[in-house]
Symmetry: C2
Subunit: 558 residues, 2 copies
Amino acid sequence: MSHKSDIEIAREAKKKPIQEIGDKLGIPSDHLLPYGHDKAKVSQEYIDSVQKNETGKLILVTAINPTPAGEGKTTTTVGLGDGLNRIGKKAMICIREASLGPNFGMKGGAAGGGYAQVVPMEDMNLHFTGDFHAITSAHSLLSAMLDNHIYWGNEQAIDTRRVTWRRVVDMNDRSLRQITSSLGGVSNGFAREDGFDITVASEVMAILCLASNLKDLEKRLGAMIVAYRRDRSPVYCRDIKAEGAMTVLLKDAMQPNLVQTLENNPAFVHGGPFANIAHGCNSVIATTTALKISDYVVTEAGFGADLGAEKFMNIKCRKAGLSPSAVVLVATVRAMKMNGGVAKADLGEENVDAVKKGCPNLGRHIENVKSFGVPVVVAINHFVHDTEAEVQAVKDYVKEHGAEAVLSRHWAEGSKGSEDLAKKVVEVVDAGNANFGPLYPDDMPLFEKIETIAKRIYRADEVLADKKIRDQLKLWEEQGYGNLPVCMAKTQYSFTTDPNLRGAPTGHSVPVREVRLSAGAGFVVVVCGEIMTMPGLPSKPAAENIRLNDAGEIEGLF
Amino acid sequence: MSHKSDIEIAREAKKKPIQEIGDKLGIPSDHLLPYGHDKAKVSQEYIDSVQKNETGKLILVTAINPTPAGEGKTTTTVGLGDGLNRIGKKAMICIREASLGPNFGMKGGAAGGGYAQVVPMEDMNLHFTGDFHAITSAHSLLSAMLDNHIYWGNEQAIDTRRVTWRRVVDMNDRSLRQITSSLGGVSNGFAREDGFDITVASEVMAILCLASNLKDLEKRLGAMIVAYRRDRSPVYCRDIKAEGAMTVLLKDAMQPNLVQTLENNPAFVHGGPFANIAHGCNSVIATTTALKISDYVVTEAGFGADLGAEKFMNIKCRKAGLSPSAVVLVATVRAMKMNGGVAKADLGEENVDAVKKGCPNLGRHIENVKSFGVPVVVAINHFVHDTEAEVQAVKDYVKEHGAEAVLSRHWAEGSKGSEDLAKKVVEVVDAGNANFGPLYPDDMPLFEKIETIAKRIYRADEVLADKKIRDQLKLWEEQGYGNLPVCMAKTQYSFTTDPNLRGAPTGHSVPVREVRLSAGAGFVVVVCGEIMTMPGLPSKPAAENIRLNDAGEIEGLF
């Protein structure tokens, strides 16, 4: 067991040159575009060249509803990837990139934790390979071209009250949430209301993560709706002629980033869309490429399984033609206890009853995931104070609910601790029992899609939406957007829209506040609660203590 | 002579792996942080390790006042660097990075032109190694922390009407020049007037280019004035506690970027501050490092010699302890003709009289540069239609004015064409006659510094400034800023503040509209005309035609 912090462990990592990591996957070094000695992008030529390879097996790591106790979804993703390599499998992991801005509010995060991490940790919390900066640039270019179009005569007859394209910056800056722009007279344009979101909330991010290649990227960018005319007809990005230059700005950002785990196993870290107003998964290009160059690919989805796995299945897998072979559902004894009513301060004490009381949250996620036709393995991510009786209670519960739970100690022990989990996952995957299908067909009306998710995943009785929202959905159906999947934006802390309702509630209703069309990304966002797309900084931002020390090391970021 | 475009020539370049270029300079490959195969940053450890080396000779390339005919200052810098290598000297060049935003308005530029270019050209017009994105991030962090400070109680008692720290984005976006921020109620802050500049106009950029190391960078960032209180006392960046985190964001951006010329000679391309509200030179760290690892370093300064060379001498050299051994003043027959009154359309016809009539502009620059104690070589950057008689007229004029002019054909012929220029420069440098001294002492009052430049460089009769401006300068002197150099912001097209007055005018006056204190960068900006810090896009932006073609090549950017 380790007493070291994540950053201490990460700094002690014996990283191999990234060319050696690529070599494990058979990627020649001239097809690796290095960023320093420990990061590289994989060339498009190489990606093209492996398309005829056999496709590996895809494993999704998801979790119960998150609690303040922490579930360790990324940690388990990394631990499982290392475990698979340990038992001799050619495996890699695919996870998301971190957003820069939030690191200056709260402390930045590791990719994983303990002895199950991806490195270089510092870079991944800072500029990394510049992907998010490229997204900010591409987004900002369209913003500038849009207002420039209005300035020079507004040929497209954009209604400046109905510009839906907000600006972005990769920083937590609440003062930019709502602004008035183009002030200062004739030479600065036509004053209008405007605002900034954080970069990860950009539709460009969602598109980058769903596009299959640069051509597809350009087409999707062009299809984004940026404004409406007085007659409510949409103005597209392609009407502003921005999609070509945006694609040029994004051409390197589209290539997956290769890094390594602490155990020198390969990992793609690529893309990071919001998990509420977007689908919350790493890029399709990273996942599909990984599947062509390794036999097992472990990936993860944002938030708990009710949001993350649902979107992974209904949006990412459906649209990218992916078919997961197994789902690993991460649970912890601590989170079960919190779902069972224990306060965070009391988590250190054994409480088997509370564990049992919290298990129905896990049970419902197991049922939900199975409804996609994919077998489930529960990974109990081991924490120091977990007792044997508590762990056994989870195992027993899971067994009663038609799955198997495996205790995994990757956080403390690395792949040695996740060997059992890896073996179980391989057994389930290789049994070949998965029969994946999304939850609803493409041609189901949009409102029914929302109802299907609300009833079958959230177990709500009803969806509440006023006439305006229903009419909007019908209008989009008439305009040809009816076959899109829906992307639910609700709290991650509960199956319901009330973040305080833990466990497995029933009988609730899902109120829809707003619907938004992400026509380029290809989904309809259904907003069911307060969704913050531009965070603020706290009263004592972490940034105040971030600095380089005399040894040149970063302090305060972690 | 070539009929190929710059981009065609650049794409045909036989680039060597950047490790081989580093090897020429003796940089071990583990001290090169690669960005792809053709770009690398030099590690701080390596920079530290060469400090005890002998210092090479510094050569500044500057020019006459720019005309629409084009002078080819960067082209000559690159050509001279290649020429020096050709004649067996260990030489490298140091130039500025390009700003991203403007490429989407007008076409992007080569670094150099013809057969005297630095590559990779595409990257240098796009994200390059991410330096400018890092500057945007660091600047934006301070913006967010400043408004966050106000939001949470404004302990520093910032007067929100007197926030001088504007925001930045690396995009030509006129609609952000003037905004109202923090709208939308209590949770978004206190509404105030605000605005965005383009990233290159950020004081962070000027600081990055003047700082000697990361410690110095952090100190200078902390010293920036971001606002004033009601009592007019300044609020510094360090009062907001942002300088540590900003330094962390800038730690890689501080390292010089190594690339190569078409002839595989080494070049640092690093930093790119505005040449009006800042000093317009590449970074001090690039120049000083280059001087430790090569015998001759060729660098350039922005605009014509009246602005660029003056600031190079009085700001960069003074503050960094640099001492140039020679100045190469670039002139073209075409520009002489334009200074002599010929319209751009008529430049193709021989007109020796017009050349002679335009020469006094060149003559005055020669005199000015010599007044810094540095010998001058005039480089006549050869254009296709230049006749022998025209070239001879320039040569004769220069000879009469105490210097020597050398015809150089690097644009058409590469180093073969610049051999003569290189030999002449080596002769002048090795003669050791330079005796550099800045134009005014540190302890001269600020207004007298302005007068000194106006009278001795611009040859004006007087400086006009109202009492408010003179009082402001006195206040800064009382606050301890009197020993700073001044940074003149005026039109680059004339010695005067009227861009239409070509040649060598006298008898004019220099009106000072405004003065600004860049306390972190360490100069007082003297604004003598309309200075645009956020450009707009034209009615048909270049971006509309920028795209990736089917071969994956970028079209429309060049």
